[in-house]
């Protein structure tokens, strides 16, 4: 098998490009695709300070590496989620990458900063773990970016992520969510700009990028994400992709170019109506934002556990 560019030995085949690539030209392809996405959607300018949300997984570490390689001023932000060994390991991968790359890293531990972790917070708030996790991450990203004076938050959402989310939003016709599913969300009062520079690259390519760049990352899936609906959507989309290479790309980019605009009008009105959370000052449609409610529920839950658990364990009582 030969590289499409140099005819040297190939290390990866990418069926949606109907091409094989050697190490050097595959890495160049990844850099070119990120450069193209950043330019196409006006995500970032050279000289801006970018906060990269890093989890220890392949996508976020690849993103950080790509942005640094392209000359961006990219600081990592790692959130300690408190999901047992999984979180301990993910933190180790992030710190190892930061040390090897001499890249600046900010760490926020949910337990230390806010008094809860994802398992206890999700339980107390009666949310699915992935929901509590997403809510927590969004709040911490926003706060860290604003407090630190960063120009944008970059996340490692790739083409597969975006296609899977799009599939879920279309299946259930979440039109307000469809309106906001964009590769760049501009800065607004209380929200930093958010960018997704990996939207032109698939999940398999990001894993390959890490292997070829020698970036160690956490291969194991989060134990709390098992059965997550997005994993099922990804599986379904990959079944389609296997028979119809390029289908995920056409689905997502066709949505952006032909449909996305049609959903935005209703959201503009809703965004104008946001007030400020009376606890933390973040934008919210209510008096207290969902994150502050989660923190409060978790604090009550922590205090209530010994009391509320004892009757159940004892098999009776009020």
């Amino acid at each position: 098998v030969k590289c499409r560019v140099c005819r040297g030995p190939a290390v990866i085949d990418i069926r949606r490009h109907n091409a094989n690539f050697c190490r050097e030209h595959f890495l160049r392809l990844c850099r070119d695709q990120v450069t193209k996405a950043i330019a196409e959607f006006s995500m970032l300018e050279q000289g801006e300070r970018v906060l990269v949300a890093v989890s220890g997984g392949k996508d976020s570490l690849a993103l950080w590496d790509l942005l640094l390689g392209l000359g961006f001023d990219a600081t990592g932000l790692y959130i300690g989620l408190g999901i047992g060994e999984y979180s301990d390991e993910s933190g180790d991968y992030v710190r190892a990458y930061a040390a090897a790359s001499e890249a600046p890293l900010i760490e926020v531990d949910l337990r230390d900063e806010y008094g809860y972790d994802i398992p206890s917070g999700a339980r107390a708030a009666r949310r699915a773990p992935c929901s509590a996790c997403g809510l927590s991450k969004r709040h911490v990203f926003d706060k860290a970016a604003i407090d630190g004076g960063f120009d944008a938050v970059a996340t490692g959402h790739n083409l597969d992520d975006e296609a899977a989310v799009l599939m879920g939003n279309v299946l259930h016709w979440h039109t307000d969510y469809l309106a906001r599913q964009l590769p760049v969300l501009p800065e607004r009062s209380g929200f930093p700009r958010k960018v997704k520079p990996l939207v032109r690259l698939g999940e398999r390519e990001m894993a390959a990028y890490c292997v070829l760049q020698g970036i160690d990352y956490q291969v194991e899936e989060c134990p709390m994400a098992e059965g997550n609906r997005h994993l099922r959507y990804k599986d379904a989309l990959n079944q389609i992709e296997a028979r119809s290479p390029g289908a995920k790309h056409d689905f997502y980019f066709g949505f952006l170019s032909r449909a996305s605009e049609r959903f935005r009008e209703a959201v503009a009105d809703e965004q104008d109506a946001l007030g400020l959370c009376e606890r933390c000052g973040a934008p919210t449609p209510g008096e207290v934002c969902a994150f502050c409610r989660l923190v409060e529920q978790a604090a009550r839950g922590d205090r209530a556990v010994p009391v509320s658990m004892s009757p159940r364990r004892g098999g009776g009582g009020s």
Partner: protein, 72 residues
Amino acid sequence: VKVLLRNPKREIEVDGSMSVNTLLARLELNRESFLVIRNDELVPGDAMLSGDDRIEIRPVISGGALSEVPHR
């Protein structure tokens, strides 16, 4: 061919020499969802594997807190 699989981590042995794509098909694994690594190096789908090779089949799908709503 000795094959390391993940999630959960385990090793299996597959008889005979074959291409990477044939190995994935035999294990009923979608080639869009996995990378194949031989002796720490990536190998493309039509590379031939021999009995001495140690192979890792690494899943590339990750899920977790993907959000429909990045922010309001």
